[in-house]
Every structure is written in structure tokens, then in C-alpha cells.
């Protein structure tokens, strides 16, 4: 049992601490939780719940924001 696990963030494999929450994942990526929307295994996780959801090995996480578009 290692102390880190592999998850897929925005299509890229990343190692995170076992038991990390989505909020901790954002912090480790230096992302402001107010500036991104988080999708965890295809389900949107609202901001107030980011600290409650723990990531598991193989989870797919999408972090999106607004960019220029028409």
C-alpha cells in the first residue's frame, strides 16, 4: 500500500496523495476553487462539497473554466 494513487486530471495521469479530497487536489495544482468547475467521474461537484469528496485510484477529474469563444 503506497501513500499515493494515480488519477486522471484533464486527460493526464497524475499522482495524488491517498485520501486526498478534490479541494486538496486543487490546492496542490495551485488552482483557486472559485475559478474552476470540477467534474468528478462525469458528475459535477459543487464548490461547497469539494472538501468532502475523496479521490480514488483511476478517477477521472475534469477542471474547466471560461476561455475566449464566439
Amino acid at each position: 500500500m503506497t501513500d499515493s494513487i494515480d488519477v486522471v486530471v484533464n486527460g493526464e495521469q497524475r499522482r495524488v496523495a491517498r485520501g486526498a479530497t478534490l479541494l486538496e487536489l486543487l490546492r496542490s495544482l495551485e488552482l483557486d476553487p472559485r475559478a474552476v468547475v470540477v467534474e468528478h467521474n462525469r458528475a459535477i461537484v459543487r464548490r461547497p462539497r469539494l472538501g468532502d469528496v475523496t479521490v480514488a485510484p483511476g478517477d477521472a477529474i475534469e477542471l474547466v473554466h471560461f476561455v475566449g469563444g464566439g
Binding site: 475559478a35 475534469e62 471560461f66 464566439g70
Partner: protein, 265 residues
């Protein structure tokens, strides 16, 4: 700016229960830099600006986020589902956009063809129905086909957005008849989206009686986007006012403007 003449009073421009001051909506893509974009939005007088939903760049090689260049207290952010080729993808993007917390409006695009970026009508209708049921105010990007526009209205869309010509083409208004008949038959606002290339295109489009225009590339790809944005603002106002004023009938023969009486022998 005040004018010395009293022009015809316009009806309010209301979409999905919200009243907007400008009939010109602008996109935020493809600008050479954010300062130019901000200047163009300002010069356009637009209140509604579109944005796209994309992944955050995790290695920070480039800063793609746009929100700190757009003041949400002055601008109405309209998220799009650009780049989506299926109804499921479009619904997914719309839900992510709503979660960002600005509003429940979405500019729905479901694209059916990579080269022309023309809409997938079936996917568009499916996604529109799902999103309306989910509480969204849907502004649906579509082609200039009346029957599709009617179906989108039936599906509960807040506005229908037929194209002037393909996205980013700058070809102008290719089917004025199609746009006019859509406007005549629909009760919800009709906002022409895509294809306008220069000010005269915007003016002619507004002269068809549509409620507004959304454009992006015409500004972003102009040599001077800020000046073009100003020109577009004037063109939209000119076209709208000309529509309200009611143009003279066309005739195939000349009719003199000066009196025939009083000519010298």
C-alpha cells in the same frame, strides 16, 4: 450620444426574461490579446459576451482563463457549447458552464460537420429539449431553415440564432429570405449568429427585422478590431432604425425626385 431628431421608439430587446440594451452581442475568441478584446467589447457597446468552456491548462504554459478581463457587473456572460458534436457533449458543457455560477443561459451549438461547422439539427433539438427541461434558457445556434427554427421554438428555446453564413467565414448574409421568414414566423427573439464580415453585412442583416446579431471573428480578425467594433455598433443601430422606419418600395423604373412642373420652355 444625443441626436437632434426624434427617431422611432424601439421595443425592448428581451431574451429569456432579461432586457438587454444593445442588440449587438459579441464573442471573446481569437483576439490577438486581451486588451484588444476588452477595447473591442467596449467600442461595440455590447452587453452580452460569449465565452467557451475548456480545460484549465494545468502546467500554466499559457493563461487561457478570460474572466479577469470581463467585468461581470457590466457584461452578461453567455457560455457556449462550441466544439460539441453530440447532444450529450453539449448538455455536459452547458451544465459545467452553469456551475460557474453566472446565469442559466447557454448558447447551444451542436455541430454536425467539421469543415462547414453547420449544425446537427437532430442533435441540436435533442440537446435543446434536455436543457430546457433542466431549467436552461437556451439560445440555439441553427441554420436558416424555418422548420428547424419552429421546432426549436416548440422545444422551449429562449431565442433562435440562425446563421448569416458559416462560422468565421465573413461571407455576410447569404439568405435574407430565410432569415426574414424565420423572424416573421417565430415569437421568440431571432438573433443572427455567425457569418457577418463587415458593417454593411450587419446593417443589411438588421434591416431584415431580426432582433439582434452575435459576431466574433468580424471583430477579432479585423485589422483594427476596436474601430470595427465601433462600426458594427453603428451598423446595427442603423439597420435596426432603418427597419423600424420602413424602407421605400423598390421600383424597376426611375421616378423623378424633382417636380416636372415649372421646367423652362
Amino acid at each position: 450620444m444625443t441626436t437632434a431628431v426624434d427617431t422611432i421608439r424601439d421595443t425592448p430587446f428581451v431574451v429569456g426574461g432579461r432586457t438587454f440594451h444593445s442588440r449587438l452581442m459579441v464573442g471573446t475568441g481569437k483576439y490577438r490579446d486581451n486588451e484588444t478584446m476588452a477595447g473591442a467589447i467596449e467600442a461595440s457597446g455590447a452587453e452580452v459576451v460569449t465565452v467557451a468552456v475548456r480545460r484549465v491548462d494545468l502546467d500554466r504554459s499559457k493563461e487561457t482563463g478570460i474572466l479577469h478581463h470581463l467585468d461581470p457587473s457590466r457584461l452578461f456572460l453567455l457560455a457556449n457549447t462550441a466544439g460539441c458534436f453530440t447532444a450529450d457533449d453539449a448538455v455536459r458543457y452547458a451544465r459545467l458552464a452553469r456551475e460557474a455560477g453566472f446565469n442559466e443561459f447557454v448558447k447551444l451549438e451542436v455541430i454536425g460537420d467539421q469543415e462547414t461547422l453547420l449544425p446537427d439539427v437532430q442533435g441540436l433539438l435533442d440537446a435543446a429539449r434536455t436543457l430546457v427541461k433542466d431549467g436552461f434558457k437556451v439560445l440555439a445556434y441553427t441554420n436558416e431553415d424555418l422548420v428547424t427554427a419552429l421546432r426549436l421554438e416548440d422545444a422551449g428555446c429562449a431565442a433562435v440564432m440562425p446563421l448569416a453564413s458559416p462560422i468565421g467565414s465573413g461571407l455576410g448574409l447569404l439568405n435574407p429570405y430565410g432569415i426574414r421568414i424565420i423572424k416573421q414566423r417565430l415569437s421568440v427573439p431571432v438573433v443572427v449568429d455567425a457569418g457577418v464580415g463587415t458593417a454593411s453585412d450587419a446593417c443589411v442583416t438588421m434591416e431584415q427585422g431580426v432582433d439582434g446579431i452575435l459576431m466574433n471573428t468580424a471583430l477579432a480578425a479585423a485589422r483594427d478590431p476596436v474601430s470595427m467594433a465601433h462600426a458594427m455598433r453603428l451598423a446595427v443601430e442603423a439597420g435596426r432604425t432603418a427597419y423600424l422606419a420602413g424602407r421605400m418600395p423598390k421600383r424597376e423604373v426611375a421616378v423623378p425626385s424633382s417636380p416636372l412642373e415649372g421646367m423652362l420652355d
